[in-house]
């Protein structure tokens, strides 16, 4: 492990170094519990938080913006000029949680994998530097709904970051490099050599932190199996669906949701832009076709869709990773209590009853 030691008071200096050639995003407190990622400036630099509840609005937007311009279209001389507009800005996300690192890795596989590569995503991603901060404080880092333990994505990311920082107490952080770019930061004078004792402290803290999760939905893999084997009854899906208010909130906060829609809009006389924006299978119009036919009308069909897509084996094999990273955001924002953890719980209960009933009947 390429690890170094850094004093808590020096951690922010990493942001300063990165700011020389990156736009750096970091988590801040808003009002109350509200937290958000924002661009670091000279003014807010001192308010960056190392321990903080994970912001609801996911950092996914730095690789897949909520609204993104794809083309500028100009009408001229009876023809058109279509120009792709790419964002090539170098960005760093400081303080990204492990679940969100896994989310970005999932997006990598989805947008850059298989036959077609998404050119907008590819550019943003190629210019992104990730500084993961491990969740260690049970009071602030870890929410009631966090269940990265079950999805095996946290509380410490195992890969796909450039640099990882973990609070190991005594005013010290252990830094681990995950890429060559991350390792090159170790040239900075504020990093010191770590000893095996530090690495051992890291291991110990991590194993303690694992006991601090409240929402431990240990049924995750069983639920994946139930859904894939079609053991979930229609009745159960309907029950889940009837609690959904169709606000789309769960997908907007989800770091692993990928769907978008595309639209053209005027930007001036004879000028248009083609933009894409987040869309969600939970919304009524998502599958509506011209002519009014909607093959997926019932709300539980759409709910079903979201969980099926995230958890069915087939999708996991196809996209090479699960479309849920255990951040618990959907559970936090859902007014109908059909976030991922409680849905898993409902499916598990219903399926256990059903299986018990089946074996009695035999």
């Amino acid at each position: 492990m390429r690890a170094r030691l850094i004093a808590s008071d020096d951690v922010i200096k990493i942001v300063d170094v990165l700011r020389r050639d990156h736009e750096v995003m970091a988590p801040f407190y808003g009002r109350g519990r509200d937290t958000y990622f924002d661009t670091v400036t000279d003014e807010n630099r001192d308010r960056i938080q190392l321990h903080i509840p994970n912001p609801y609005y996911p950092p996914k937007r730095y690789v897949l913006p909520h609204i993104e311009q794809m083309f500028r279209i100009r009408k001229a001389d009876g023809s058109y000029e279509v120009q792709s507009t790419y964002d090539e800005k170098k960005r760093a996300i400081f303080g990204i949680r492990s679940c969100d690192v896994a989310g970005i890795h999932h997006l990598d596989r989805f947008y850059l994998g298989r036959d077609f590569k998404d050119p907008y995503y590819a550019r943003r991603r190629a210019h992104l530097f990730l500084v993961n901060v491990v969740c260690t404080d049970p009071q602030v880092d870890i929410n009631d709904e966090c269940y990265c333990l079950c999805t095996d994505t946290g509380p410490a990311a195992k890969a796909h970051f450039d640099l990882q920082l973990m609070d190991i107490g005594h005013g010290e952080y252990l830094a681990v490099a995950g890429s060559a770019a991350g390792e090159s930061l170790f040239d900075q004078p504020f990093f010191r050599k770590a000893t095996p004792e530090h690495v051992e402290r890291r291991r110990k803290i991590l194993s303690e932190v694992r006991h601090n999760f409240k929402a431990t939905t240990g049924w995750f893999s069983a639920t994946v199996r139930y859904i894939s084997q079609e053991k979930v009854l229609e009745k159960t899906w309907a029950e889940i669906g009837s609690r959904c208010l169709e606000c789309g909130g769960c997908t907007y906060v989800c770091p692993a949701c990928t769907c978008f829609t595309v639209t053209d809009r005027p930007t001036g006389p004879n000028e248009f832009e083609r933009v894409r924006l987040w869309d969600a299978c939970a919304l009524y119009g998502f599958t509506r076709m011209a002519g009014g036919h909607n093959p997926r009308k019932a709300v539980h069909d759409r709910r079903n869709r979201r969980f099926f897509r995230k958890l069915a084996h087939y999708f996991i094999q196809r996209e090479l990773s699960m479309a849920c990273v255990g951040c618990g955001r959907c559970a936090e924002v859902c007014h109908g209590d059909v976030g991922m953890p409680s849905t898993i719980e409902m499916i598990r209960r219903a399926t256990t009853e059903y299986l018990a009933h089946e074996s009695n009947a035999r």
Binding site: V82, R123, D264, R276, M289
Partner: protein
């Protein structure tokens, strides 16, 4: 990880509208060519059953089947006016420029059907994607056994490509059976749903070594599938194209996802066996 701008999978290539033919109410055929001959050449390798994404700048983009066969010299779309983008296409005049990208989708594996009988069953504008296969089959007539077309629409006025159907039939080589739900004064032909044509006196539909192509609105699809299965067709010998709301055409936007498949990438052509497994309403 760093594609060049040429690799932008969403980038429409510019095309010019050459001529427009009125088909039936609200439906027109649009003949076009890419401005860049290299684009045209690259596109011409398309397969029957594939589709393209059509951009009307400022109004949006939509998927449209490729009704021409690759054996024909022209490319065109036949499009019904239903909403914003299709309406905008209908507004274009010859000479106007719009965008096309593709071809996309799997298409019908026509080589696999060599030596077999082909039964085409279409309803309404479902004939558009099948046109490509029919023309392809006729261009390679010697490769196939018996070829039959069963085509129905609500009224005689809504039968698409009628002059073509007559022309092809006269040229010989296949049977063509038409029907309408409601006849008007001039209609001498059959009335009834498409499936009723299978039982018309004098009609024999082979079921052995036969592939049935079914395209049409959801209700028609359900009834025809039932008829074909009762006649003895295997679910692997019935093929269809599925229609879904599509935004990207390349497996990224998620709109066309049905069951475990993406219609834009794994389809739009599926066998009935596959469709059954997708487990969603058609």
């Amino acid at each position: 990880m760093n594609p060049t701008p040429a690799d932008n999978i969403y980038l429409p290539k510019l095309a010019r509208l050459e001529r427009v033919v009125d088909e039936i109410d609200e439906v027109r055929t649009f003949f076009w060519r890419f401005l860049d001959p290299a684009d045209q050449k690259a596109f011409e390798g398309f397969k029957p059953g594939q589709f393209a994404q059509v951009s009307i700048f400022g109004a949006g983009e939509f998927p449209a089947s490729l009704p021409p066969s690759p054996t024909e010299k022209e490319v065109f779309f036949t499009v019904r006016r239903v909403g914003r983008a299709t309406e905008a296409l209908h507004q274009l005049q010859p000479g106007d420029v719009f965008g096309v990208r593709g071809p996309y989708g799997n298409g019908f594996p026509m080589e696999q059907y060599a030596g077999r009988n082909l039964v085409f069953v279409a309803g309404g504008i479902g004939l558009i994607p099948l046109r490509s296969c029919i023309v392809y089959a006729l261009a390679h007539r010697e490769k196939f056994g018996k070829i039959q077309i069963f085509y129905g629409a609500k009224t005689p006025k809504e039968l698409l490509y009628r002059p073509l159907l007559h022309e092809w039939e006269k040229a010989g080589g296949f049977e063509c059976h038409l029907t309408v739900d409601r006849a008007d004064n001039g209609w001498q032909g059959h009335t009834g749903v498409v499936g009723s044509l299978f039982r018309k006196p004098g009609v024999t539909v082979p079921t052995e070594n036969t592939t049935a192509f079914v395209c049409g609105p959801p209700v028609m699809f359900r009834f025809v599938i039932k008829d074909l299965l009762e006649m003895g067709f295997k679910d692997t010998d019935i093929v269809s194209t599925l229609e879904r709301y599509m935004k990207c055409g390349v497996g990224k936007c998620g709109h066309c996802c049905i069951g475990v498949a993406y219609v834009c990438m794994d389809g739009p052509v599926f066998t009935y066996r596959q469709i059954k497994k997708l487990g969603e309403d058609i």
